[in-house]
Amino acid sequence: MNDDHDLDLAVRLLAGTPTHEGRDPALLGQWARTASEFGRRMTLRHETVRVIERHETVRVIERDGGLEAGLFARYRSRPPVVEVYADTVARAERLVAERGWRHWFPEGSVRAAALAHEQAHAWLHHAPVRAEFKRALGHTALRLGRRRLYAYVAGADEIAAHAYAQAACGLGRSPLLLTEALAAAVSFESEN
């Protein structure tokens, strides 16, 4: 039941991503499942990720103003840095407590999930991981005889990053649930 809801959230994320207007929801569902699966496998046990990790250090900095900008965290590649928005993380932790979701999102797990999410994006920018991800999704851009050129699926990397964060941090539910709930709460607070 919970897995179905997480998948529904992932499908909605894809449906709201430009380039997927008019796509068959069943296809979006298949991509969402595959991307989640890929993200869960993309831990440090993953061979390519392990190689990248040895050569790349990503600096982490804490910032404020995330609630205003609508951001949990941001990854920038030049120079490699992850910005974690402390105010958003703190508000999300409060929300988890208010909703009684502590068994899904243990204390301190939101910040850890934000870091893991952006770390996954950093990995997904490396060519071998990208190629493997596209093959897994299996969306064809061009077919010449037996040769296939795999297409990029916009939004799928976001789902993979969330799935990685969930697996890496041992969360009971997808961080997408927290995203949706916090967006609704912030929107409600700003309107009242």
């Binding site: 909605r12 991503t17 430009p18 380039t19 941001r74 958003t88 916009a154 995203t179 967006a183």
Partner: protein, 428 residues
């Protein structure tokens, strides 16, 4: 009297800058005041009512029709899914290499820029292009600037712009086309440099955003049911260009050719009439702001070309206008910022009036004024934080128009410098 006219123009610029008056209204008011100051009678020959208002208002009629047809074609590109398909294909092919996606969106924006201008052009390329670029990791300011720089690449081949310069400066289309072909490489080079340099400098960016999960999309939306346009329909933006540039067909029939091509390649015969009418009416809506502006510019041009205005302004303008080639390039390059913020060198504002003065007083040949104004137009179209396409692109990307101005200005300033060099060395 020349000084008074210049002071009145300065007041007009101030009114536009402070948004006290919409540009079109300010230009008409300016025209009427300038005409009275130039000693024009109320009615009769070279008068305020009969010459400035009656003859000036439809003076740029051919441009207005071209704008309308461009907007019509733009609506068709939107409704038939041609623009969306182009961007979608680019993302699918190059999405894992953000710089390829940005170059692809730049190319689509350039194609769109040859068809139509301002905010509708930015929307056509940017509605899918900007979020698609952001989704693949292009930073927001770079994404907004890419669409604008792309449109600016297309502007030298935007047929309504050719028509505008041809009518406003009384030049044959061939002459306008000749200069635009020389201006194009500068615009292209600067745009590609923008994408490559900014991508290298800023890298990629990804966010865990609160806006990630959206509400379920409404079912039954007509546009959502539309699939990809067929590959041969994707050639539509090139059709008017090939007709006008390659086959020397006049501008209005070239644009109509584009409309017909888009229609027959995407629409079933029984749906054609309804789609044509619907998109034409939509085109009127899109074209209303620029057409209003062109009515006002026509009126202003009629006022500054009155004999009294020419006599009053000629000595003053001549005294401050550089005749030396190097000085011409230097001075007019330094004056580039004056076409920003609806400034006095904005071609679609008071700049048109100043161009009219320069031509009417014979200070520069009309073709040199074309070079100057077309070069400034490249800056205005990208970096002016008050122009509709810049405001729309920046806001849609979630950044401020001023951020986009600061990021793009060095590149378009270089384009203007290139255009002014070509002008000075070939037309002065």
């Amino acid at each position: 009297m020349g000084v008074v006219i210049l002071l009145v123009m300065a007041v007009g610029v101030a009114a536009m800058l402070t948004r006290k008056l919409p540009t079109a209204f300010a230009l008409v008011l300016l025209a009427v005041v300038i005409a009275f100051l130039a000693g024009a009678p109320l009615t009769g020959k070279e008068s305020v009512l009969d010459t400035v208002l009656q003859e000036g208002a439809p003076a740029l009629a051919a441009t207005m029709i071209a704008i309308l047809l461009g907007s019509w074609l733009g609506k068709l590109l939107e409704e038939t899914g041609i623009a969306g398909t182009l961007v979608r294909k680019i993302v699918e092919f190059g999405g894992d290499r953000p710089v390829f996606v940005a170059l692809g969106v730049l190319a689509v924006s350039a194609l769109v820029g040859t068809v139509t201008g301002s905010a509708p052009a930015a929307m056509l390329a940017g509605l899918i292009g900007i979020p698609a670029m952001i989704a693949v990791g292009i930073p927001k300011v770079t994404a907004a600037g890419t669409v604008l720089m792309g449109i600016a690449v297309g502007v030298p081949f935007e047929l309504p712009v050719w028509q505008f310069f041809s009518t406003a400066l009384d030049l044959p289309i061939d002459t306008v086309r000749g200069f635009m072909v020389k201006l194009f490489p500068f615009a292209l080079l600067a745009a590609v440099a923008y994408v490559l340099v900014e991508s290298r400098r800023r890298g990629v960016e990804h966010t865990w955003s609160l806006k990630t999960v959206r509400a379920r999309p409404p079912r039954g939306d007509r546009r959502r049911r539309l699939g990809d346009a067929p590959w041969y329909a994707l050639l539509t933006p090139a059709v008017p260009l090939v007709l006008a540039l390659g086959l020397d067909v006049a501008i209005i029939p070239s644009l109509l050719g584009g409309v017909l091509y888009a229609l027959v390649t995407t629409t079933r015969p029984r749906e054609m009439n309804r789609r044509l009418l619907r998109t034409l009416y939509g085109g009127f809506e899109v074209a209303a702001p620029p057409i209003t502006l062109f009515v006002a510019i026509g009126i202003l041009l009629a006022a500054v070309e009155l004999p009294g205005a020419v006599d009053a302004l000629q000595p003053l303008v001549k005294a401050v206008s550089p005749q030396n080639t190097v000085l011409f390039i230097l001075v007019f390059t330094l004056l580039v910022p004056l076409c920003l913020f609806r400034g006095p060198l904005n071609v679609f504002g008071l700049g048109a009036g100043i161009a009219g003065v320069l031509v009417a007083t014979g200070i520069y040949p009309a073709v040199a004024v074309l070079g100057m104004t077309a070069s400034y137009n490249q800056v205005f179209g990208v970096s002016d934080p008050t122009s509709t396409q810049t405001v729309w692109s920046a806001q849609y990307a979630g950044v401020s128009p001023h951020q986009v101005m600061l990021r793009t200005l060095p590149y378009v300033w270089a384009v203007a410098f290139g255009g002014l060099c070509v002008t000075a060395f070939t037309e002065l």
